[in-house]
Subunit: 436 residues, 2 copies
């Protein structure tokens, strides 16, 4: 039987890892698919650069999609990233009926609908496991294992950089700035860390996962996104006192709409996660996704969410599936329903509030009064501690409290009437029901 001709778009960290995997694990691929796989063409931006493991005398190395198409690939793996010209390339491939597996998160998040439509029209496959959470097989779990079930909620730690930073802050009491500097030193964080620390990366991943989980098209701009740059060492310490960890949680949840039917609430925000919750134990650069629904209960999957070899293993898994299956329902857009996005205050939950207030009698009473006036009741006051004079004779106190379940808008309106500084407001995840 002839070998399967695989073309790669991109030969950077992920692309070269995939190339190496397909060479080194040739036996495994053959065992799984009963086919031999050969990388016959690679598209790169700079054809003149020497690349280890890439021999231009045996493999076509080109910067032209036309040449790549002329090499007659059976399947194409995309690891070049970016929106353009990648989108254009993938459309051209899909239009010709060539199956594509991709690791491109932003492209799937922003242009998934268009890409799926073109794949379906050409009766070919577009797989994208590698675009979310590296080696963690969450796309397959949602698209196939849970396809006949009803998902109520998806919670994820989808960004390894921020989870590494928050883990370091919890373990060592370091500041946000120090945790970021260490993450940058170790290569976990980019020189410009905005995508990671402001939750933009997690929001793109959430929009992909929520779209599959709820069978609806999710606009990444509908994800209410708050980063971790406002989280202080103090907040992390207070969370510990409350028996919780602070995690950047990406959450998609089905909510009952007041008029009947359902909406979907989408947010990425730092949250207090109780120690007993499965996501609390996810430390370091690990990713994890928890899916809750009927009748399967609760499933959690965790693993390496980034890295060239790890992401390459997800591409290879998709490649195996493409080789092993005829064009099928996986050619089609998984987004078939439409769920409206829930308004911000559709969901009430407990909140953690930390702020600096003037240290004078009656301040707590004033805060409690302001909250009560907006229907927010205090569950627990954790701390009201003087923080020393500010040089003008007046002194300040740090006030930390948790609320009973309340709408975030009510809490925000109430707090706007309180004079305070350096304020952190974080939603709190409920503890799971006791298991044993």
């Amino acid at each position: 039987m002839d070998s399967i001709r695989v073309a790669l778009l991109g030969h950077g960290t992920v692309g070269s890892s995939l190339h190496q995997l397909l060479v080194e694990h040739r036996e495994h691929v053959r065992a799984a698919t009963q086919r031999d796989v050969e990388v016959t063409a690679v598209l790169v931006r700079d054809v003149d650069r020497a690349r280890p493991g890439l021999d231009p005398t045996t493999t076509l190395v080109t910067d032209s999609l036309e040449e790549l198409l002329a090499s007659k690939p059976d399947v194409v793996c995309e690891a070049m990233g970016g929106i353009e010209p990648t989108r254009e390339y993938l459309l051209a491939l899909l239009d010709r009926g060539i199956p594509v597996v991709t690791a491109n998160k932003q492209l799937v998040a922003r242009h998934g609908t268009e890409l799926f439509a073109r794949a379906a029209a050409a009766r070919t496959q577009l797989r994208f496991e590698a675009s979310v959470c590296g080696a963690v097989p969450i796309v397959r779990m949602l698209r196939e294992s849970l396809a006949a079930t009803r998902i109520e909620c998806l919670l994820g730690i989808l960004n390894g950089t921020t989870n590494y930073m928050l883990s370091a802050m919890a373990a060592n009491g370091t500041s946000y700035a120090d945790a970021l500097a260490t993450a940058q030193d170790l290569g976990y964080a980019e020189p410009d860390p905005t995508e990671d620390v402001e939750g933009i990366d997690a929001a793109a991943k959430l929009s992909i996962l929520a779209g599959i989980a709820f069978g609806t098209t999710v606009d990444v701009d509908d994800v209410r996104t708050t980063g971790i740059s406002g989280v202080t060492a103090d907040d992390v310490a207070h969370a510990h006192v409350l028996g919780a960890r602070i995690k950047l949680v990406a959450r998609a949840e089905r909510l009952l709409a007041p008029g009947g039917g359902h909406t979907i609430a989408l947010d990425v925000t730092p949250m207090l996660v109780p120690e007993r919750h499965p996501l609390a134990a996810i430390s370091g650069a690990t990713n994890a996704v928890l899916v809750d629904g009927a009748p399967f209960g609760q499933l959690v999957v965790q693993g390496a969410g980034a890295g060239g070899p790890e992401t390459a293993s997800a591409l290879a898994g998709d490649l195996v599936s493409v080789l092993g299956s005829e064009p099928s329902f996986l050619t089609s857009d998984p987004h078939v329903a439409h769920l409206a996005v829930a308004p911000r205050d559709a969901r009430s939950e407990r909140h953690y509030v930390r702020m600096r207030v003037a240290d004078r009698p009656g301040v707590l009473a004033a805060v409690a009064g302001a909250l009560a006036a907006h229907g927010v009741s205090i569950e627990r006051v954790i701390q009201q501690r003087a923080e020393g004079a500010d040089g003008t004779g007046a002194s300040e106190a740090s006030l930390v409290l948790t609320t009973h379940p309340c709408a975030p808008g009510d809490l925000e309106t109430a707090l706007a009437t309180v004079e305070s500084a350096d304020r952190t407001v974080l939603p709190m995840l409920d503890a799971p029901e006791a298991a044993s």
Copy 2:
């Protein structure tokens, strides 16, 4: 488009849950597969028994496979359990090219090779996600996501009953007997708990998973199996002192053979699992599987390992995949290689030892000497405590120690020369490398 005709074998807890799921989640199945699914026939042992949700005027209810075949099912879901006549029925279905999804652990573990061969010969599919760990999609992860990778080790908590019992012993300090009685009261354990507590259930699941993970045929009798009935409240308490939990761990590991090549070590045994290890946090009746290999790193998946609705959701996931894909590589036996089973002493690891010894001077020296004579060195002596007189004037002491890595056979031989009673010997899992 015509509906897909689904026949069920068995209508007990799992079968009726699946039936209900396919009715209630009809929209989800249609969204995923673009097909309507209808349960047109059900095979049961006793056709006269009334069954809620099963209307014999609209659905064929029969005890005859011939009648079921005559109803022309497109796909069959097996949830009747047992070896015969189930095996015979599945062979008859597969021979006719009818795809089968099954929840039958013992059947796949004992007769998987025969069933896969017949499915492949007829170019039809046999899927079996539901046969291992209920809703946890570990079979799909191993067969597809990780098919192109190299798996080094698979560790699982594959039995919910024993994990529930060990969790209760750890949380409440209860005895083995009390934990078993509670598990029986709650319906987690059968009146005859042998299959669960002696590790037989976990061994069958491990043989299925190891077969896929390592692409080899695994005889369930090759799994070295020790149950938890010898684990005492004392052992659980000592484990805590050592920063560990006792878990019934199912483990399949690739080992280098002395003469080159590889062997596979297969065991189910209670182990000390360090608190920081991902499996230590799995409490209650939850199942979890950790897979370690290249280049994906470490993946953990956890969820409900039993229960009618949970198992039904795994059957439904397989059903969706069958409907969505043409006969493919999944028709074929995943067991293509042959790995010899490693001898018991192929692997050295740390061990926990607890025993009662005579409380007289020199006993520890004698134990240490006996161990040293067989090349086993003591890492740490945790406790040597007098336990009170036995009425004859002599008294006994409880001795708890851990060893440096040693072969289990050497340790056993050494301990055979030591006079002691009530002895527990458990291997110890290594802690994961620090993540943050």
